[in-house]
């Protein structure tokens, strides 16, 4: 399973960033509106590509967690 990326987004930029991600052919995305985060399965993209999108605050790879 591919590692997901976690993208925090500026206030009120969720729709714009989502549109930009779809334009990059990233359709598998989960919008978490209450906390302003989008979770994506990145494909062949680089983190730097995502960070360039206007409205993106930070991009991180998903980590494993446990009890």
């Amino acid at each position: 399973m591919k590692t997901k990326w976690l993208i925090s987004v500026k206030d009120d930029a969720m729709d714009a960033v989502s549109a930009e991600l779809r334009a990059l052919k990233i359709d598998n995305l989960e919008k978490l509106d209450s906390i302003g985060v989008i979770v994506i399965v990145p494909g062949d993209h680089k983190i730097a590509d995502i960070k360039k999108i206007d409205g993106v605050l930070n991009v991180e790879e998903e980590r494993d967690v446990s009890i």
Binding site: S8, D33, I35, D64, V65, S66, I67
Partner: protein, 468 residues
């Protein structure tokens, strides 16, 4: 559910105005200043006995300045509106007074002021018309305390006070607590009939707890007040609404994208407290900027996230740093102590000055609680067990004080019991539940020594003059 789907709330106004006076100004100067600017004739709350006034008092003047708050309530007389607009052009902030139907969020200073006001009025009432207290029998109360079995953790945190002089009337009613963990055993008899909202964020697994960890944490934070089969009380906020988010698999692991989804779900459901007994291992420095942003947004919306510091230490030799995501500044990190108030050997510490601190400590060694069937109950160790103690007590404080978000955080840390241990390991100290003092009325069966303060009766009696 997303934010955009939230129900629109209609704001109603009373017709009065609230004027926030400039910082640091005193009441009499403000009254003069407002009079000069707007022509309004205000009174000070100090002019009323105990600063208590009614709508009738307000109607007799243009408004009243609340001396301790630096806020003026301006009434709804027709001539006021033009005057009000002139105040807004000065340094004063003017708002319409809203109609309030339930206790809302107060900041701590307002909370203290209002509580002080209430206590003063109650005290005056007691002096004038006598107290309206229940009669408590010392022996009955003492035996009641001794007969109530509760875990050491509930006693140490004052959820079940050990002194008959204190009692805890709070149960978390009206407070929503989300437990993001391995799910919950819905067949557990101690929770029969209890409504539980649940959602799985683990693909292919239902919220039914196949591990037991989530059921243990839920038991501590929100378990019942009594149970026919448990050996002692283990649950704290027994009337809180339970929200189970399964973000860890039955094997006890998951990805932190699922945890963010769980946090988002909890906020969308307006949960007041989120308990996360989980951790991602951190080897380097720094914390997750994404989680920090999410947690700060949660706090701003009134949701307090509480997480385990982690169990990676081997004290006294090795102290590991607070792990992800508890190392984010906007997430409350919980360390563990044992029954003797020593730091648990496994409990991680705050190693960095600007982030990754342990914020508070709670019982985390030999913690008895519910777990999945057929085992039903178990005593476990871990900061995982300490975290739901803080979550449950946060629910009690939320109920008792009406505070949410960062104000609830401050209430928890400001009321924690200081421990003679490094702040690195226990933060503000041992979390403490809100309690009340019992009012005990003793029968008066003797003549008071002082009948008239001017002419005290000598309790010994007259000294006889001995003539030899």
């Amino acid at each position: 559910m997303s934010k955009t789907l939230k129900k629109e709330e209609k704001v109603e106004y009373t017709g009065k105005y609230l004027v926030l006076l400039p910082e640091g100004s005193n009441t009499s100067d403000s009254i003069n200043s407002i009079s000069a600017i707007s022509g309004l004739n205000l009174k000070s709350s100090l002019e009323f006995e105990n600063e208590f006034f009614t709508d009738k008092d307000l109607a007799k003047t243009d408004g009243i300045v609340l001396d301790k708050l630096g806020i003026a309530i301006v009434n709804e007389k027709p001539k006021i509106e033009n005057s009000i607009s002139s105040l807004g052009e000065s340094e004063m902030i003017v708002e319409k007074e809203r109609v309030v139907y339930a206790i809302g969020m107060l900041d701590e200073s307002t909370q203290n002021y209002v509580e002080g006001y209430r206590d003063a009025v109650n005290q005056m009432t007691n002096v004038l018309v006598g107290t309206e207290t229940e009669d408590y029998n010392y022996e009955e109360q003492q035996s009641e305390v001794e007969s109530v079995g509760a875990t050491w953790g509930l006693k140490a945190t004052n959820v079940v006070p050990t002194s008959f002089l204190r009692y805890n009337p709070y149960n978390g009613a009206g407070i929503k607590v989300a437990i993001l963990d391995t799910g919950f055993d819905f067949t557990h008899p101690d929770f029969a009939g209890r409504p539980i909202v649940h959602q799985s964020f683990i693909t292919g697994e239902t919220t039914q707890d196949g591990h037991g960890h989530g059921t243990h944490c839920t038991g501590t934070s929100c378990g019942p007040a009594s149970s026919p089969s448990a050996v002692e009380r283990y649950g704290i906020a027994y009337a809180a609404s339970i929200y189970i988010g399964k973000v860890l698999s039955n094997g006890g692991s998951g990805g932190d994208g699922g945890i963010l989804a769980g946090i988002n779900w909890a906020i969308a459901n307006r949960c007041d407290v989120v308990s996360m007994s989980l951790r991602g291992f951190v080897t380097g420095t720094g914390y997750s900027a994404v989680f920090e942003t999410a947690a700060a947004r949660a706090l701003a919306q009134g949701t307090l996230i509480i997480a385990a510091a982690g169990n990676d230490s081997a004290r006294p030799g090795t102290v590991k740093q607070v792990m992800h995501p508890a190392n984010c500044p906007s997430i409350m990190a919980v360390g563990a102590v044992d029954v003797n108030m020593n730091v648990a050997a496994f409990s991680n510490g705050g190693l960095y000055p600007t982030y990754g601190a342990v914020d508070i400590a709670a019982p985390g060694v030999n913690v008895y609680s519910s777990t999945k069937l057929p085992t039903k109950y178990a005593s476990w160790n871990g900061t995982s067990m300490a975290t739901p103690h803080v979550a449950g007590i946060a629910a009690l404080w939320a109920q008792a004080s009406g505070l949410r978000g960062i104000n609830l955080w401050r209430k928890l840390t400001s009321t924690a019991k200081t421990l003679p241990l490094p702040g690195r390991d226990v933060g503000a100290g041992l979390v403490q539940a809100p309690t009340k003092t019992r009012l005990i009325k003793f029968p008066i069966d003797r003549t008071p020594i002082l009948i008239n303060p001017k002419f005290p009766i000598d309790p010994i009696g007259p000294i006889e003059k001995i003539i030899r």
